[in-house]
Amino acid sequence: MNQYQLISTIKLGVKSLMLHKLRSILTMLGIIFGVCSVIAMLAIGEGAAYEAQEDIKKLGSNNIILRSVKPPEDANNQNNSRGGFAISYGLTFADSSRILASIPGVNRVLPKRIIRENARFSSNYVPVQVIGTYPFYPEMSGAEVIAGRFLSVPDERFKQNVCVLSSGLAQQLFPYQNPLEHAIKVGENYYRVVGVLREKNMADQRPQSGKMEGEPLDNNIYMPLSTATTRFGKTIVRRTSGSMQAETVELHEITIQMLEDDAVLTADQQIRWMLKNKHEKMDYEMIVPLQLLMQARKTQQMFNIVLGSIAAISLIVGGIGIMNIMLATVTERTREIGVRRALGAKRRDITTQFLVETVVLSIGGGVIGVLVGITVPFFVTYFADMKTIVTFWSVLVAFGISGFIGILFGIYPANRAASLDPIDALRHE
């Protein structure tokens, strides 16, 4: 088989297929849908996984996050049957210092108190969340100081009435002024604004905002933890439709930064153990971004396997369609096969001719499928606002499989054509 033969065989294959355009296109549809769905589904899956993993990574893969959670209602009703509506739960300063002192591999521990309040400057009145934390908060969260400074160690030590605003809040409270050195009123007291902070991104605020859905995410006021504890007290009284409820929570969140990613998984167990011993109720939750990340990857793998199976099935169905048509074609062109054999074609030549036709069909379907397949994710992104990623390897795999299917399902019809006896074939009507 030299190149002239191959080229003329391919030309001939295309010509023969063009003789029955509709039939060829319908046959290709199976492969087109198969290839297109492989690429599109993988692109959507890949995009979703990427977003999930990015979100998790933003939490910091070397961090462990603890959050106070109100224990289930029925449990504390029993506990406080005589104590009225006062409940006390959650993480404590003791937890924080114990973790720092006794868990190996801990770099820093960042506690937070989060209090919902209202902030006022002149006539501007905005609901906010007050976050009492330590001076190294920006380094750990990746937030950026865009004006003034962040809280300092002396602020913390001397319980200064100072605060730092998140950029969104700064704009709402001070639409026409520079907020620095102004005093804003939060709750009952006044605090001097010393800086403005730009959050790294929205995802970063999700853990801080906790379960307070419906709250603006960017309305944060940062102040020294000591100040927040003194000014707002440990007990927060909530009035809900006539009844009053007092909650005592020392710390709402503790972020533990490990020296290395590897230390996370061992520390995870130790912290779990420690908290279990110190807390009677499950009044906290533990988020290990690294574990979430590993889970997300596992889920993604499963997803890929499922997608792969669906795609394989649809490609096999397409392949069977091709085989069906090729068997019909061989019967229809028996006379042609006899003529070619009489004119010097070997069995091999006949096999090649029909195999080339099947491969042209499936590769043709593959090419169209790839083109449609890389267009579909674009529309999905545009209309459904989902991130999609078309990877090179998904295109390669889809295309390769379609070619492989063509050969696999083409061999039988082609061999059948080649095994015809020349005389019988010539006599065929």
Binding site: L343, G344, L426
Partner: protein
């Protein structure tokens, strides 16, 4: 039950042989063996000095492609190919460069009077024209022998005569011709007429 029995036949190079006989007498079977499409269950067949009777399938394909030109009753052109492409088909299986042989293919098309219709497809041609394409195709590989099974069977008498004239001309140029026919007038053109009956040679007459 054998289609042919006890046939002993020699065909000289450059001769023009007609095979005649009633239907079912084994004419086509004989031609198929001569054309290496079929192998005799017993006996030998020497083509140009080689015993081809027991050759392998691939080698037989080669022998057909190189040494034999076929002309069929029903033309048997390949419908999806043009006139010139049909003429070139045997070249493909000998791995010849089509460009190199393009001149020869056009020359043959001219010889059979179809140089104006190189890009036509078989369904755009009359029966006589199709048969002439088939003749050009049978010649492209310069075979030793042309085998024609009732080449005029599907044609009217005038067109049939044109085709027979062409075949006469090939013989005049030195090609060996073996032709199956029912028409005694066609047989008269040949140098030798072999009459068959029940798979045997009944009479073997040399004209002139």
């Amino acid at each position: 039950m054998h289609a042919l029995r006890g046939v002993d036949l020699q065909i000289a190079e450059g001769s023009y042989v007609a095979i005649m006989g009633p239907s079912g007498s084994g004419k086509s079977t004989m031609l198929n063996i001569l054309g290496c499409l079929d192998r005799p269950t017993e006996g030998q067949y020497f083509l140009g000095g080689d015993d081809v009777a027991q050759m392998e399938d691939d080698i037989l394909s080669n022998v057909r492609g190189k040494r034999i030109g076929f002309i069929f009753q029903s033309y048997n052109l390949i419908p999806q190919l043009t006139v010139i492409e049909n003429i070139q088909v045997p070249l493909i299986y000998q791995s010849y460069d089509l460009k190199e042989y393009m001149g020869r293919a056009i020359e043959l098309a001219r010889m059979v009077g179809l140089e104006e219709r190189l890009d036509h497809r078989p369904n755009q041609l009359s029966g006589g024209q199709q048969q002439r394409v088939a003749i050009a195709r049978s010649l492209i590989n310069d075979p030793l022998m042309i085998l024609a099974d009732e080449p005029t069977g599907n044609l009217d008498s005038k067109t049939g005569l044109e085709v027979l004239d062409l075949i006469d001309k090939l013989n005049a140029d030195g090609k060996t011709i073996v032709l199956v026919t029912h028409d005694p007038k066609v047989g008269d053109r040949a140098q030798r007429v072999i009459h068959m009956k029940d798979g045997k040679i009944d009479r073997d007459i040399t004209n002139r």
